[in-house]
Symmetry: C2
Subunit: 261 residues, 2 copies
């Protein structure tokens, strides 16, 4: 299994604080030491840092922890290899282009019976079940909407159906973004919180580190953080229900299986 | 216009020395200050570092200059924006997946009359003529060989035809790799050299820096370096002829328009 971390905001925000605690799970406070990666959307562009070293000892992770990259959509992942050997091609997040936009995906879980769709347009480069699932999602979305991205309601219901089909093959918690919408799907375990005014201080679980967000934010800011398990011990995290697909945009929950806010 | 740097080797090699001189052209010894990027293939995987800051002052470039990443195929680019504004989505190299492999591309030149192929599978995310040309190459390759990568002779002749068509729209020097083969196409200006035993020392043009490769290599090593203009002033660089498409594999020139070695 692996660990997921995501962020979706209404203003470009750095993820240094959350990433600090998250990194500790890659070999220090947890066993996910078979590589890591982080994707930052910036406008239409996206940059992804990948490494097959444990995140606690990775020089690139060390650099990212100290270098604030401001983004409105971030997906990070630390890996405990199950299907597919340790190697750069098996590090999440994965990226492909669909409808003229980059799509980024990271997965927590196991899909042991999901087979490659060798006739599909998108094909895995590595050996993970996760990249296979990502290609499956994109192939099905492209088959349903060959030319342009549909409205969010239509996209949401199609993605939910695809997700349910894939989830029949095992455990399928994932984060997916096109740089605008941020999808978080829970199969067994996924949490989120939304930080907004009035901002307070937060304390990490995995490192003894506290930050006072009230001194770093403006009243208009909204930041959604999504993670496999809560990163802080003094904030109210919400469990996403198994089977639930939620969508964030600009730090706001805009769609969920059970309810629409 | 922009600057290109590529490396193709038979053993994983770091590019720190060449990148040091190359980076200086991004705002110090030359005017290419509108962003930069570098892609490293490692096995089937690939990692790309992109930044819309000038390479001489970029914190990420500073990190890469000091952190040796060993790779057999590297493509780097520094940008002087002509078509498409400064922004992360317009930084080269660009990456897409074709036939289950990552393909990476960077361009020097201008293709002012090349239009978007809006019916193609691969679509540009940014606004550059360069990404448009890359998508055009991949769309045509996929149309010719829908399922699997053809043998290199067939791939080479198809790519040469596609290249000649695109080059009719302007200046089209480019580097392209799938992590195994390394294609370098010259429209106006591109050089290469092959470092092999007996190794000597090399001195950069853009920085006063000398390296003695004989102390860092084994007799079996072969490294091809490809660049818009020579990076060293005491080695023999070969000009690729305008209209010529050359292919390297494991540090050896394996195909060229004018001759086959």
């Amino acid at each position: 299994m692996c660990q997921l971390l995501g962020m979706n905001c209404n203003v470009p925000t750095d993820i240094c604080f959350s990433f600090e605690g998250f990194c500790a799970r890659g070999g220090k406070t947890d066993i996910h030491k078979d590589g890591w990666g982080i994707a930052f959307f910036e406008g239409l562009g996206c940059r992804i840092f990948l490494d097959d070293q444990p995140s606690v000892s990775s020089a690139i992770a060390q650099f990212i922890r100290q270098y604030p990259i401001r983004s409105m959509n971030v997906i990070a992942h630390i890996r405990k290899a199950t299907i597919g050997p340790v190697g750069l091609e098996n590090c999440h997040p994965f990226q492909r282009e669909l409808w003229g936009h980059y799509w980024v995906f990271a997965h927590n879980g196991d899909l042991p019976t999901l087979v490659d769709d060798k006739t599909g347009f998108y094909r895995p480069v590595g050996q993970t079940d996760s990249e296979r699932a990502f290609c499956h999602i994109l192939n099905q979305l492209r088959a349903a909407f060959p030319n342009t991205q549909p409205p969010i309601d239509v996209l949401y219901s199609t993605l939910l159906q695809i997700t349910q089909t894939i989830a029949n093959h095992g455990i399928f918690n994932y984060l997916l973004s096109d740089g605008q919408y941020f999808f978080a799907s829970c199969s067994t375990r996924l949490y989120y919180l939304i930080r907004q005014s009035p901002f307070t201080s937060a304390h990490l679980i995995d490192e003894d580190l506290t930050i006072d967000f009230s001194s770093l934010t403006s009243p208009h800011d909204r930041v959604a953080i999504i993670a496999t398990s809560p990163l802080t011990d003094n904030e109210m995290w919400t469990a996403i229900l198994p089977g639930e697909l939620v969508v964030f945009r600009e730090g706001t929950l805009v769609r969920a299986t059970a309810h629409v806010s």
